[in-house]
């Protein structure tokens, strides 16, 4: 740690301050959200900032409603999200995010500090949030001195650790439209308790009877696909083959493919995907069922 390359540090008090601090920023300007990923990355020399913009005082927290959507501040941490998840129907977008947040590993310390915006911006293919945002058809609200733009989740995630965010933009909010989901299911498939997942799947039962499914951790970016309802049950081989085909097509459409890594090879990921989707769909169907019975 020598004095000369000490990065400039600012902790703006609001979004305008963040935007001003980022004006003209290049790749050397590093945003600090909860810090759970970026601070260790600095310690280990993977990230060498020329300037640090700390979002911790900018107030980008809180959850509010806005014309048919729930808007979540990018600095909302997992613990706050879980605390806010009360009395909402099983199809509410926060229900899916809360399901995912409940499975975040690393203990309460990570839930207290890790943020939704940080997870989205980091774009680790193995993270929970990116796949959920794609499943929800979320829009990512990016602010810069040039103005505010919204990018659909599917177009935000460009690859492993790559997003559509430009260096002078801050992810300010996540816009979660209230879609036609009746209930959500979520399954994170991993081979050891604190390991990263091999495949994650979020699934919604839609009002029209169909299903929307998203896959995470399977490829370098999350993808969504529509799947017909399993009229003969989720164990039906014909339905599982449809899911497998749909997943392969959804990945190919985005120029992605099942990945090989230390956790599993691509062949294994492809084989296990219909099983994990089936479990997520079963969860969603149970949720929809309970709601139906609750109403009757």
């Amino acid at each position: 740690m020598t004095g000369e390359d000490t990065p400039r540090y600012t902790a703006p008090a609001d979004l305008d301050g963040v935007v001003a601090a980022l004006e003209g920023a290049d790749e050397g300007t590093v945003l600090v959200g909860g810090g759970t990923m970026v601070v260790p990355a600095m310690t280990h020399g993977h990230v060498v900032p020329s300037a640090l913009v700390d979002l911790g005082r900018a107030g980008l927290t809180g959850i509010r409603e806005e014309d048919g959507a729930t808007v979540v501040g990018a600095m909302t941490d997992y613990a706050s999200l879980l605390a806010a998840d009360t009395d909402r129907g099983p199809g509410h977008p926060l229900r899916l995010l809360a399901r995912a947040a409940a499975g975040i590993t690393g203990g309460p310390q990570i839930r207290n500090r890790g943020t939704l915006g940080g997870s989205a911006s980091y774009a680790n293919p193995a993270s929970d949030v990116p796949g959920c945002l794609v499943a929800l058809g979320a829009r990512l609200r990016l602010a810069s001195a040039r103005g505010v733009r919204e990018v659909p989740a599917q177009e935000f995630f460009l690859g492993a650790f790559r997003t559509a965010r430009r260096p002078d933009e801050v992810l300010a909010e996540l816009v979660l439209p209230h879609g036609d989901a009746l209930a959500w299911g979520y399954v994170k498939f991993k081979l050891a308790e604190s390991s990263w997942p091999v495949v994650t799947s979020a699934a919604a039962v839609l009002a029209g009877g169909g299903l929307r499914v998203a896959l995470g951790a399977a490829a370098d970016r999350p993808v969504a696909l529509d799947v017909p309802a399993p009229h003969r049950g989720t164990a039906d081989p014909a339905w599982r083959a449809l899911v497998a085909d749909g997943a392969a097509r959804a990945l190919a459409d985005r120029g992605a493919a099942f990945v090989d890594d230390v956790l599993a090879d691509a062949h294994y990921r492809a084989a296990v995907t219909p099983v994990i989707v089936a479990r997520a769909v079963e969860g969603a169907l149970r949720g929809a069922d309970r709601q139906e019975r609750g109403r009757a």
């Binding site: 000490t6 310690t43 640090l52 590993t105 310390q109």
Partner: protein, 159 residues
């Protein structure tokens, strides 16, 4: 260098840090309290756990500058040799540590759990220590200690 103010265990402190300085290093070296341990520096082990404004964090994953103005509670504040915190007593009585390296983090995490919910369920207990890695003791005695601390807290709360 940035000058920051911290309230550490009730005492106001002012220290000067490089903006890249980790909170754990500031606590150990600038503030001089070495009960907070350094394990992995990746956010995995939990040995560096402290409470920042009553919430547990892994202090290797927080910049010291980010904590400017915050209230910190470290293991040094958790009880004295003659007057142990109920969580400390439970870990002692249940033989829930061996080398003790993980212990400061483990104790503060459990303290936060009990401060938030004096009567946590089994799932909450398991979740609470899931970010604190212990390489010697095994989680059997650790979970027994947490349950025992819960019972002690419940009994102490009884009118």
């Amino acid at each position: 260098m940035n000058r920051i103010r911290l309230n550490v265990n009730g005492e106001d402190r002012e220290v000067e840090v490089d903006p890249r300085r980790l909170l754990v290093h500031a606590v150990r070296e600038e503030v001089g309290l070495t009960g907070t341990h350094v394990g992995c520096l990746t956010g995995d082990c939990g040995a560096c756990t402290v409470l920042v404004d009553d919430r547990s964090v892994k202090s290797c994953s927080v910049l010291a500058v980010s904590a400017d103005g915050a209230r910190l509670r470290t293991i040094e504040d958790l009880g004295t040799e003659d007057d142990l915190d109920p969580v400390q007593r439970a870990f002692l009585e249940e033989f829930a540590f061996q080398c003790g390296y993980c212990l400061p983090g483990m104790l503060l995490t459990v303290r936060e759990l009990l401060d938030r919910d004096p009567d946590p369920g089994e799932e909450d207990i398991v979740q609470a220590v899931s970010g604190n890695l212990c390489r010697c003791t095994g989680y059997g005695p650790i979970l027994r200690a947490v349950r025992s601390a819960v019972r002690a807290t419940r009994e102490a709360d009884r009118p």
